[in-house]
């Protein structure tokens, strides 16, 4: 069965500092990987996704993630965060059978 582990429930960081949000997955089949962001009192929106091809994926708002098959990881990074990046971030995995399995989320808190 597929599963997703987000290793940090909360990540505090100062504005303009770099950040990495960690995500590990388990699956015995080919996977598709996603990062979604949820701003306070809103629904989720897609940040980026890996379906195939280049293992370095660039998304919206300056975020990027790298698919590492040997380490079964899909960590999310941003070189310089802004106050507006404060939100909850969810990693998710899907196979071709259509279901998304979400991690428990990482709350990114950016301080001035």
């Amino acid at each position: 069965a597929q599963s997703v582990t987000q290793l940090d429930s909360q990540v505090p960081v100062f504005e303009e500092a770099p950040v990495e949000l960690r995500c590990n997955y388990s699956s015995s089949v080919s996977v598709y990987l996603f990062w979604y962001v949820q701003y306070p009192n809103q629904g989720l929106q897609l940040l980026l996704k890996y379906l195939s091809g280049s293992t370095l994926v660039k998304g919206i708002n300056g975020f990027e993630a790298e698919f590492n098959k040997s380490q079964t990881s899909f960590h999310l990074r941003k070189p310089s965060v802004h106050i507006s990046d404060t939100a909850e971030y969810f990693c998710a995995v899907s196979d071709r059978v259509r279901k998304l399995i979400f991690g428990t989320g990482t709350r990114l808190q950016v301080f001035p």
């Binding site: 969810f90 259509r98 991690g103």
Partner: protein, 112 residues
Amino acid sequence: NAGVTQTPKFRILKIGQSMTLQCAQDMNHNYMYWYRQDPGMGLKLIYYSVGAGITDKGEVPNGYNVSRSTTEDFPLRLELAAPSQTSVYFCASSYSPPETQYFGPGTRLLVL
């Protein structure tokens, strides 16, 4: 183009009451999903549909029912509300997995 819309935004129910959460999308997506989000638990799939007239259970279907009579609408029914159903409910849609799922703004439900 409104995307995915959900009504109501908030609702308080008494134990044993019933209600229907409405979800509609105007993107002509075949796939629609219902999730619930509980603090620290991420999102759990309740039910999903691959097209009009076709629905299937997700991870946590007990206490819920769905129907899909049109491509646009995917209502979620709670027959006998229980405190354990206090949660935030999100509807989502996608054209075809593993493509992006688009989420509605959510319905906050409190069962007392």
